[in-house]
């Protein structure tokens, strides 16, 4: 057969068996890796086929440091070099060994070469395949599920943000209710009572929610309904000392 023409045995049974063996070995490697390192954080000290996970971890760590008032850590040169090494293994070494040895095996086969030469290329093919597949196999399901995970995370965070802003609104209403109770009647207050407290329109209807205030002599009940998530709400009591008590959350805020 002319080596420069198409071959009908491109994916021979021998080749397919090899491919299945590599895939099996990679899966074992991936699951073994997960069992071995599941208790550890992803760090540049451990080889992982996804260097971007380490970078993402660093970005979130920086956020946590800044959350607690510390300066973000700058990744050391040794850790950067470790990330580069991961990149080189996954994107250069693995695919190059896999594809170049596959090509060599094919050429050797065409040239009817002796088996030791073919054995060497087969070994390199397996090594390259295991490295490449260890990055590719987990990436495909992760890429598929990532979008839905992100969507649900964004939604959960949006609900929480709305809840936080509504709690801030409630704090404001409680502040003005308490102030009303303190102020004498000559200053437009309740002189020791919440009764008659009527918050301004800007307080009871914000971009976050609507608030119904029910004042009585010694306490003030506030019921809040979210504007963004109408089934979500908060109910709280302002006591004589102006403190917010008996919080209860409704719907998505629970």
């Amino acid at each position: 057969m002319n080596p420069k023409t198409d071959s009908p045995r491109e994916f021979s049974s021998e080749y397919l068996q090899l491919l299945v063996a590599i895939t099996g070995a990679t899966l074992l490697l991936v699951f073994g890796f997960e069992r071995l390192f599941s208790h550890q954080r992803f760090s540049p000290d451990v080889f992982i086929p996804f260097p971007w996970i380490v970078a993402a971890g660093q970005t979130i760590d920086d956020g946590l440091e800044m959350f607690t008032g510390k300066l973000p850590n700058i990744m050391s040169m040794s850790h950067r070099l470790a990330l580069l090494a991961d990149m080189l293994v996954v994107f250069v070494l693995g695919p190059t060994l896999l594809l170049m040895s596959w090509r060599k095996m094919r050429l050797v086969k065409e040239e009817q070469a002796t088996s030791p030469v073919r054995g060497l290329w087969t070994l390199l093919f397996v090594v390259g395949g295991v490295i490449s597949f260890s990055a590719v196999i987990p990436a495909i399901p992760i890429a598929i599920t990532q979008r839905s995970v992100a969507t649900s995370l964004f939604h959960a965070q949006a609900v929480q943000t709305n809840k936080d802003y509504m709690i801030n609104d409630l704090n404001f209403i409680a502040l003005y209710a308490h102030q009303y109770r303190i102020l004498p009647k000559s200053y437009g207050g309740g002189e020791g009572s919440f009764a008659g407290f009527t918050p301004t329109r800007g307080l009871v209807s914000t971009e976050n929610g609507d608030y119904i205030v029910s004042p009585s002599a010694n306490q003030c009940l506030i019921k809040a309904t979210s504007k963004l998530y109408p089934s979500a709400g908060i109910s709280v009591l302002v006591n004589e000392a102006g403190q917010l008590r008996d919080w209860s959350y409704i719907g998505p805020f629970e």
């Binding site: 198409d6 071959s7 009908p8 970005t59 920086d62 990744m75 060994l97 990436a139 102006g242």
Partner: protein, 209 residues
């Protein structure tokens, strides 16, 4: 030829990795190296899948290449955007918490003064006198907030003190506010700051940053 390709790949990706320099974040280095690696992989596939490989093999390998690179790219960019989103979210949550703490503590302090002021018996003391009876020796510029623990970064400065008006400026020391160029009370820039003014009529709040 294998070694030549390996060396070219290592050099190309390594050079690209170091082009953005030693920045605080490692993402620019990774992204730059990722683009170089993508170009290298496309060249590698194009080179290795020439004849004697047949058309079916070429189509299959290119298809697998695009699917896997697409999946890796989605995973990569997804982690990039998601981690930055979480980073920003953490800071905005901290700002909300900071404002909540300010709102829970500072007006309460002023309302205590207001309560005492309006419930005096006998000779009427001024707002300033009532405030100073609760904060002896305090003067404009002083921090009247007692930290709850060593991580408490809230400062409450007396920004104005008179017989008829008391103004407190509450400022977070590291929590960023809306305007990064805002000049804070203590000279910092861009931090959360709220101002509360007490008169005999009550407390007025201004969210300054």
């Amino acid at each position: 030829m294998v070694f030549l390709w390996l060396i070219c790949g290592f050099v190309l990706v390594s050079v690209a990795f170091f082009i953005p320099g030693n920045q605080a974040e490692v993402w620019p280095n990774l992204n730059s190296a990722g683009i170089a690696a993508l170009l290298y992989l496309l060249a590698l596939v194009a080179y290795t899948m020439r004849k004697p490989f047949g058309r079916k093999a070429q189509i299959a390998v290119w298809a697998v290449t695009f699917v896997t690179l697409g999946a890796l790219g989605m995973h990569w960019t997804g982690m990039d955007s998601m981690s930055h989103w979480q980073h920003e979210k953490l800071l905005s949550i901290r700002a909300v918490i900071g404002r909540g703490i300010i709102q829970a503590e500072v007006p309460y302090q002023l309302l205590t003064v207001l309560d005492s002021f309006h419930h005096q018996k006998g000779k009427k003391a001024t707002l300033q006198q009532v405030f100073l009876s609760k904060n002896p020796g305090a003067k404009v510029g002083d921090n009247v907030h007692k930290p709850n623990d060593e991580r408490d970064s809230l400062r409450v400065f007396i920004s104005s003190l008179s017989d008829t008006m008391i103004a407190l400026t509450a400022q977070e020391m590291f929590v960023k506010g809306r305007d990064p160029s805002f000049k804070n009370f203590n000279g910092r820039t861009g931090m959360v700051q709220e101002r509360f003014t007490l008169t005999a009529k009550g407390v007025r709040r201004e969210s300054e940053n």
